[in-house]
Each structure stands twice: as structure tokens, then as C-alpha cells.
């Protein structure tokens, strides 16, 4: 990790040097705050801007001089085809239109109102690419460690990640899924480390709020739903459509309830991660905003202390949410692939090796 962090910082700070114009350095009279057009500080807007997605990577504003990295806009219109250009074409604060397209509150629309699909590399997509590169670099080097130190004790990065990988395998996959855990292990490991890494990357100053984006958590929840549905066995479906252990006349009523359960499980996954990560970002930003709302430096020690405390808490939350997401995913998969010798009412296991039951309803 030590070797990769400076590399990451280097990547993140690279565009800053490219964008800064030494001649436009602001005067000391300018207040260094996030300013709206009216020059009045609006905490809600600033916070929403920070936790949301954007078509440019905004690092900081010094007075009226914004340090940003323009990101590529990729738009597909059924009538005009694909168009790719830099978001800087939209001009300062995205006020101008280009090629019949304009941005309305970070939302790409056409001027004539026809449909357009926005496939732009936004801040979140760019951040995801960085995290994916980081993940591939880290884990291929860990894998190389096993080749290099074959038959010997793990070293360095390898020894840091080995217990975590073993934890995911033994405590999450084996316990929640049972004997068929091997097939699902790559997915569980990937979402665990993807969420954890992106939670941590999101805590860096100026970074994107990727795991606090509903689209991202929705997709993970959706993939989990797909895996659960397509790897499920007949016991899973018989439990839904002919719930054992309830009176016969109640069984038809149970069908919609059970079906809602199928959807609500991944839905809870989606909302939990989104809400936890976004809430953490909002709290930190709120504490910092206090300084500008009260417009006095006197609040800053309090803001910094609370901000630091929440930041430390977020480090823990970053790991915890990755763990919870992976564990619940494994439990839902486990519930779908579990074998029953007879109908299991959730009272007593089949045997001692039976996985933990995930009856969330």
C-alpha cells in the first residue's frame, strides 16, 4: 500500500498543475470559500455538489479561479450518432452549449429536446477507473508474491492482504454459503475490496463519492440479485411459492410477501451502502461548512475536531460497510443455494456444517 499511495496522489494532483495559471493567482482579499453566483455561501448546494457526480473533476477554488480537470463527454444520439469532446467545451461553469448539447445541473440534454444518452466519463467513472487500476495493481502483485514466496511465509503487501482474503473466504463465504462457496468467492472478494478501496478513496480530499452513489450501489445490488436468482435451487423457490411451515390457507398470501422479500434484500443492500457513505461525507462537509456559515474563524477548531473525529469514524465505516455488504450478499446467495434434506423451518440445522441461515423475513 505504501508504494501505491504516493502514486495515487501523484495522479490526483497531476491535473492541478496543468490547470493552474500563475498569472491568475487570487489576491489575499478574496475569501477562499465555495461561492455561488451571488457570492453568498450556500452549504446545501456545496455539499450536494461534492457528494454528487460531475462532468469535471473539481479540486479547489481559489477566489474565482477554479482548479478543475475537464472530463470527456461521450454522448450518443440516435439521430446524430456518437459525439466525444471535452467538458471544457461547455465553457466556464457549463454555461455554454456545444454541438447541440448542454448541461443542465450536470444533466446532459439536447437543445431541441431530442433524446440523448450520456455515456460521459464523469468524475465517478474516472475515479472508478483509478480504483480499478489500483485494485489490479495491488492484487496482481499480491498474487505474484505467492509465486515468488512459494512454500514460504508471506511478505509485505501479501502478508497484509492474506488475512483479509482468508477472512472473506473463511468467515464470510464458507460460513454463509456453505460447501458451494468456491464458485462465488471471486465475486465476493471483488466486491469486498472494490467497496473498501472506493470507500477509502472517497475519503481523500477532492476525491469522488463513488460508493455513495446510488447508481453504483444499485448495480452491485442488482448483480447480487442476478447471482442469487440464477444460482438458486428448487428449495429456494418452493420456499417462496409454497412456504413450508405456515397454514395452508395462508400460503397464497405468503407468495407476494416472499416476492417482496426477494426484491427488498438487494434493495436494502443498495440503500445501506449509499446512505452510510453519503451520510459520512455530508457530516464531514457540514462540519467544515459551519466555518463559512458563521463566517468566523473561531468555529474552525470545533469544526476541525469534529471533522477529524468523523473522518476517523469513516475509516472504520469504510471497512465495516464493505464487510456488511459482502456478508449479506454471501448470506443471500447462501439462502438460494442451500440444500435441504427436508423442509427447513429455520428451527435447528440439517447438520453442524450447515451455513448460517439468512431468513430476513
Amino acid at each position: 500500500m505504501k508504494r501505491f499511495l504516493p502514486f495515487l496522489f501523484w495522479i490526483l494532483t497531476l491535473p492541478v498543475f496543468a490547470q493552474e495559471h500563475p498569472t491568475e493567482v487570487s489576491t489575499t482579499a478574496d475569501t477562499q470559500v465555495e461561492a455561488t453566483e451571488e457570492g453568498k455561501f450556500n452549504a446545501g448546494e456545496m455539499i450536494l455538489h461534492h457528494v454528487g457526480d460531475s462532468h469535471e473533476w473539481h479540486f479547489t477554488s481559489i477566489g474565482e479561479n477554479h482548479v478543475t480537470l475537464p472530463l470527456p463527454i461521450i454522448a450518443y444520439r440516435p439521430d446524430k450518432g456518437l459525439s466525444v469532446f471535452s467538458s471544457s467545451r461547455f465553457g466556464h461553469e457549463f454555461k455554454e452549449s456545444y454541438d447541440g448539447l448542454k448541461l443542465e445541473h450536470e444533466h446532459l440534454v439536447t437543445e431541441d429536446g431530442s433524446t440523448v444518452y450520456d455515456l460521459s466519463i464523469t468524475k465517478n467513472v474516472a475515479s472508478m477507473l483509478i480504483s480499478v487500476l489500483l485494485l489490479i495493481l495491488v492484487f496482481t502483485s499480491v498474487a505474484a508474491g505467492y509465486k515468488k514466496n512459494h512454500g514460504r511465509a508471506p511478505k509485505g503487501l501479501q502478508s497484509f492482504f492474506e488475512p483479509i482474503i482468508l477472512f472473506v473466504r473463511d468467515e464470510i463465504a464458507k460460513k454463509a454459503i456453505g460447501p458451494k462457496y468456491k464458485k462465488f468467492l471471486p465475486y465476493l472478494l471483488t466486491i469486498f475490496f472494490f467497496i473498501w478501496f472506493n470507500n477509502l478513496l472517497g475519503l481523500l480530499p477532492g476525491a469522488a463519492n463513488l460508493t455513495g452513489n446510488l447508481a453504483v450501489t444499485f448495480l452491485f445490488a442488482f448483480i447480487t440479485l442476478l447471482i442469487t436468482t440464477f444460482s438458486s435451487n428448487k428449495y429456494y423457490w418452493s420456499h417462496i411459492f409454497w412456504t413450508p411451515g405456515v397454514p395452508l390457507w395462508l400460503r397464497p398470501i405468503m407468495i407476494p410477501v416472499e416476492l417482496i422479500g426477494v426484491i427488498s434484500k438487494p434493495f436494502s443492500l443498495m440503500v445501506r451502502l449509499f446512505a452510510n457513505i453519503t451520510a459520512g461525507h455530508i457530516i464531514i462537509l457540514s462540519f467544515i461548512s459551519l466555518i463559512f456559515i458563521f463566517n468566523t474563524v473561531a468555529v474552525s477548531p470545533l469544526s476541525l475536531a469534529f471533522g477529524l473525529f468523523i473522518n476517523c469514524l469513516e475509516l472504520l465505516v469504510a471497512l465495516l460497510q464493505a464487510y456488511i455488504f459482502t456478508l449479506l450478499t454471501a448470506m443471500y446467495i447462501g439462502g438460494a443455494v442451500e440444500e435441504h434434506d427436508d423442509h427447513d423451518y429455520g428451527i435447528g440445522g440439517d447438520d453442524a456444517d450447515a451455513p448460517a441461515h439468512a431468513h430476513a423475513h
Partner: protein, 163 residues
């Protein structure tokens, strides 16, 4: 804005995540998990082998103990036999010695008896000789005195004592 997932992000995330999953599965998770399970198996195998070696050692030790016990018994038996044999030898030797002694004594007795017989025969001879001598002397002197003759015969007879 927060609760409105954008199409572009969904699209890119699906593409990127699937690629990430495939790359990590092929180049990271498979070799890592394989190496981990291989190591676990080798550790388990080593432990099993150690257990087996321990059992073998125990069996070997038991064998050794048995052999030792057998050897000890054999030794005791040999010692006992040797003791018995030596006792018997001593007994035989003693018996032989006793017999020999008895035989020697017997021989000695016989010899003594013979000697005695011989001596008696000699005494008899000597007595006969003496008698003849005495008779001769008496004959030489009897002419002179009859009483003296008598006296002489008595003296001689007193001198010669028979067994």
C-alpha cells in the same frame, strides 16, 4: 440529484466492474486462493505425517520394549540355567571327590590291612625265628642249670609279646 442514478455511470460501472471481476479472477483470486489452499494442504499433510511418525515411533518403542523384556527374560533364564548347571557341576564334582576319597580310604584300608597281615606274618616269622633263637640259646645253655633254663624261658616269653 442524489437519488437519480445516471445512465452513463451505470453503463460504465457495469463494463468496468465485469472487466475488473474477470481480470482479478484470472490473475489474482485464482492464483492466490490456489496458493492458500495448497499451503493449507501442505501444512495439514505435514501435521498428518508428524502424527503418523509419532505413532510409528510409539510402535517402534513398544517393539523395543518387548525385545528388551524378552532379552531380559532370556538373560534371566540363561543365568538361572548357568546357576543350575554350575550347582550340578559342583554337586557332581563334590560327589566325585567324595567317592574318590572313599575309594582312596578304602584302598588305604586295604593297604593297611595287607600291611598288617604282612606285618603279622613277619611277626610270626620273627616269633618263630625268636623261638628258634631262644631254643638255640637254651639248648646252648641248658647243660648247665635246669632252673636257670626255666628262668630264661620265662623271660623270653615275657619279652615276646604277641599281639
Amino acid at each position: 440529484m442524489l437519488t437519480n442514478p445516471s445512465f452513463g455511470l451505470l453503463f460504465w460501472q457495469l463494463a468496468i466492474f465485469v472487466i475488473l471481476l474477470l481480470i482479478l479472477r484470472a490473475f489474482a483470486w485464482k492464483p492466490i486462493l490456489a496458493a492458500l489452499s495448497e499451503r493449507e494442504e501442505s501444512i495439514e499433510g505435514a501435521l498428518r505425517q508428524a502424527d503418523q511418525a509419532k505413532l510409528e515411533m510409539q510402535a517402534l518403542k513398544a517393539d523395543n520394549d518387548k525385545l528388551l523384556a524378552e532379552a531380559r527374560m532370556e538373560r534371566d533364564r540363561i543365568l538361572k540355567e548357568a546357576g543350575a548347571m554350575s550347582n550340578q557341576l559342583i554337586e557332581t564334582a563334590k560327589q566325585k571327590a567324595t567317592d574318590e576319597g572313599a575309594r582312596l580310604i578304602m584302598q588305604a584300608r586295604e593297604a593297611i590291612q595287607n600291611e598288617k597281615q604282612a606285618a603279622l606274618a613277619e611277626v610270626k616269622n620273627t616269633a618263630a625265628q625268636l623261638s628258634i633263637d631262644i631254643a638255640e640259646r637254651i639248648l646252648r645253655r641248658e647243660l648247665t642249670d635246669a632252673t636257670a633254663q626255666k628262668q630264661l624261658v620265662t623271660d623270653y616269653l615275657q619279652e615276646v609279646k604277641l599281639n
